[in-house]
Amino acid sequence: MYRISAISGLFLLSASLFGQGGSLGAFTNSGDVGNPAIKGAAEFNPTSGEYKITGAGANMWAKQDQFQYVWREMQGNFAVSATVRFVGTGADHRKAGIVVRQSLDADATYADVVMHGNGMPGLQWRSRQGEDTNTFDPPFEGPGTFKIKLVRNGVKVYLYTAREGAELKEIAHTEVSFRNPVLVGIGVCSHQADAATTAIFSNVSVEALETPPPPPAKK
């Protein structure tokens, strides 16, 4: 099982604005990032292991993010995987994915592995707080149910994806420098300020990976 590291005073201050009641499975907290006009919600069903996440928000893009986030704090290297599908219709570029953030600030440094509503996977990142988002999108075929996986290994952040039933495949990795601890979670954004969208995450796994010790100090 996981051990959650001591929560800092600053984190408590942020967390007090966010829901902390009830069990969120592999995660500890949920709430909206970036104050979207329509409030989101997150439910975890311990029997099925499914998370039903409803999120609104203009986008997670450019210099500001708005989305519903379910997260926990982690250190070091880790792998997060999930099966994700959207419920109902929505914007082509609505997003459901695995999100690593430095903080809950709307313009925080982040990296994510997302599935868009039209079936386009994305590896997206903001290298430093307040900067524009960068993106890489591999070729895609159309909507469906997908397996997605994000691996953090030092500064490297890997995108894996596959259609449900196919073998998860490494697509690419980028490099993003985070300080420890980071927030690790799953999130949903409708890509529309005036509508929410819902996605179901199942088979969610959060695994700490071996983290090599830091290199010895240079003489």
Binding site: S127, D132, F136, P139, H173, T174
Partner: protein, 178 residues
């Protein structure tokens, strides 16, 4: 160390020899062969390393704002060890972003980069196989820009030579709004 370019008009091939620490972080060192272009276009080229060297030596198809060492750029790179990558510097003096694909091992490559508005899409083929789309990124770069081929040895102490063949640069119609 100095680089050089030789053009073989009969074979329509360029031998580009480049040195330099890298095309990375906030400053680039490499040999560049370029022309000015505006608007949308496609660049397709064969690329083969003719010399051994460091695994991360690079042969690239590049779009570059200027010849400044810290200029904004986006490129499709094939590394000597067969790692394809899309790399870019968003603004002058900024650090370089990378998207690295799984290592494919050394080979003979075909590289294709298409600019359609802010969408940069890349393809690759190995050893005569079909071109495979790797994906796209979104990249803002003003017109005109410098389109070209580059080589960096990833070492101040080395030079590497890459044979670029079958170079095709085609203008494309304006992209539809995204």
């Amino acid at each position: 160390m100095k680089g050089a370019t030789e053009f073989d008009a009969a074979g329509k091939q360029y031998k580009v020899t480049g040195s330099g620490t890298d095309i990375w972080a906030r400053a680039d060192q490499f040999h560049y062969l370029w022309r000015e272009m505006s608007g949308n276009f496609s660049v397709t080229v064969g690329a083969k390393f003719l010399t051994e060297g460091i695994g991360h030596r690079k042969a690239v198809v590049m779009l570059r704002q200027s010849l400044d060492t810290d200029s904004p750029f986006v490129h499709l790179a094939i590394h000597g060890d067969g790692t394809p990558a899309i790399q870019f510097r968003n603004s002058k003096g900024d650090t370089t972003n990378t998207v690295d694909f799984p290592v494919e091992g050394p080979g003979t490559w075909k590289l294709k980069l298409v600019r359609q508005g802010t969408t940069i899409t890349v393809w690759i083929a190995k050893n005569g196989g079909p071109l495979r789309e790797l994906g796209h990124t979104i990249y803002q770069i003003g017109n005109p820009l410098l389109v070209g081929l580059g080589v960096s040895s990833h070492s101040q102490q080395a030079v590497n030579t890459v044979l670029f063949s079958d170079v095709v640069i085609e203008p494309l119609p304006a992209a539809q709004a995204r």
